[in-house]
């Protein structure tokens, strides 16, 4: 069973993000597009990823054309 300690975080590198929006499609449970296309979460820059979303978060991070996401 995953514990909170093992819970991953998705970190958005705003310097690289260009608002392409793939992450808002691949991880729609956590990220939506703001009015300018940038990924919005109430958690801001570091989005907590529960175990069931880890696979989707990993795909979002690897598919980002700007490599602006890091799963840590």
């Amino acid at each position: 069973m995953k514990t909170a300690l093992q819970e991953k975080t998705l970190h958005i590198n705003w310097g690289k993000c260009a608002g392409r929006g793939l992450c808002t499609e691949l991880l729609e449970e956590k990220l939506s597009a703001d009015e300018w296309g940038y990924p919005y979460s109430p958690e801001g820059t570091n989005v907590r990823i529960p175990a069931e979303l880890e696979k989707a978060a990993r795909q979002a991070a690897s598919d980002c054309p700007l490599r602006a996401l890091k799963l840590i």
């Binding site: 705003w14 260009a18 608002g19 703001d34 296309g37 940038y38 919005y40 801001g44 820059t45």
Partner: protein
């Protein structure tokens, strides 16, 4: 713009104007030889708050720094807030005390890389001193954002004075990745030059002395041809005390619609709050009632000035001074500044739009610039509602 240094209650400036090494030694003695754990305990007991604007606990930042050869310590004199002059005054008149503080902090964290990050106008005055004391000198551009801690660090690492992305605190190493192009970043400890000067005093005289005699630097704008005045006053001073010391009369203080304290992400002070202490108090007690001192900027409004109009021009400045890196900030801050201007003109719905945009930009960037800007906009609207606004809004000419 003239600058005056008031030495009536000196501590940091006790060695006088343009203190050279001889004057510095004559006033403060030799470089203090204090064991690291003793100094750390003194800093903790003194509750010294950071003087770069955030007021963060100096002890917490020092104690949380990863120690060792790879650690860099940067004295931040970028002074990006254009209303502040205290850091430049420190480099001009008390550079050796600042360098003492920098070298003491470096020793505490085991660093052999002390760096001074200073503006071009300070460079000529400190270049030789810094070199003589083994301190590397790097230049800060005059932008607002260059004073941000990670911008200071990034100037040292890459020569770019803009905030940088990080997944760990600056004072802890950023882990490397398997990608060979991503190098590990070592721990970088950034302290404002005033914080370091105060630390150099605490190292000599101790935390009890600091509780009784410690000071804070303020930049007071006289709003006359006399320009700005840098004052060193006992910590716990109120806005009223600071203004009186700067030469304002009680009548002038009462006539000001409000005083902006701390800087652009500061607090509007008026009425009763003129008597509230600014900044963390010695020993930390009673600090909940204190108003944040920020960078010590004191900017009183003139009698006929409209606070919302003044705030709108500050917000336009803050919006324009974004680093141009982060989408939400680059887009959101100008929109927020425009919405605020609309609120200034009394356009319905504009205040709600300011709040909405504020929520949208906060926490979404590589630094806290959008958060602080949004907070200032909302604080201004809350302080000066249509009901208690000192003057009528300018009329909006309507197209017929």
């Amino acid at each position: 713009m003239t600058l005056r240094l008031d030495l009536s209650t000196p501590q940091v400036f006790a060695a006088g104007y343009h203190a050279d090494l001889a004057a510095h030694r004559a006033t403060f003695g030799d470089f203090p030889q204090v064991p690291a754990d003793t100094l750390l305990a003194q800093v903790q007991a003194s509750c010294l708050d950071g003087r770069g604007g955030a007021g963060f606990s100096t002890y917490t930042k020092l104690a949380g720094t990863e120690t060792g050869r790879k650690t860099t310590v940067i004295a931040n004199a970028a002074e990006g807030e254009y209303l502040s002059f205290k850091d430049r005054m420190l480099l001009e008149h008390a550079p050796h005390l600042v360098l003492d503080g920098l070298l003491l902090a470096s020793a505490l964290v085991g660093s052999s890389r002390p760096v001074l990050y200073a503006r071009q106008e300070s460079m000529a005055g400190v270049a030789a001193l810094a070199r003589a004391r083994g301190v590397e000198l790097i230049q800060a551009p005059g932008t607002y954002i260059s004073g941000e801690a990670s911008a200071a660090a990034r100037t040292y690492l890459q020569g770019i004075s803009k905030p940088m992305d990080r997944t760990t605190r600056l004072n802890r190493a950023e882990p490397g990745t398997k990608n060979v192009f991503r190098a590990e970043r070592g721990p970088i400890l950034v302290h404002n030059v005033e914080t370091l000067a105060q630390l150099a005093l605490i190292a000599r005289y101790g935390s009890d002395w600091f509780a009784r005699k410690g000071t804070r630097l303020f930049t007071v704008h006289t709003r006359t041809g006399a320009g700005a005045l840098v004052l060193e006053l006992p910590h716990g001073s109120s806005t009223r005390e600071i203004l009186l010391k700067a030469g304002f009369t009680g009548f002038e203080i009462a006539a000001a619609p409000a005083v902006l304290t701390g800087g652009f992400s500061g607090t509007w002070v008026k009425g009763e709050t003129l008597n509230t202490p600014l900044g963390a108090l010695p020993g930390g007690e009673g600090s909940e009632q204190a108003i944040a001192a920020g960078t010590g900027i004191i900017y009183p409004l003139l009698q006929k000035e409209d606070p919302l109009t003044v705030a709108a021009s500050f917000l336009n400045y803050l919006a324009a001074e974004n680093a141009g890196q982060c989408g939400p900030c680059v887009n959101g801050l100008p929109a927020l500044a425009d919405a605020f201007t609309a609120a200034t003109l009394g356009i319905p719905g504009a205040a709600a739009e300011v709040a909405r945009l504020g929520r949208g930009v906060s926490g979404r960037g590589m630094c806290k610039h959008p958060d602080a800007t949004a907070r200032f906009a909302l604080h201004t609207l809350e302080t000066f509602t249509p009901a208690n606004r000192p003057s009528r809004p300018p009329r909006v000419l309507q197209n017929s």
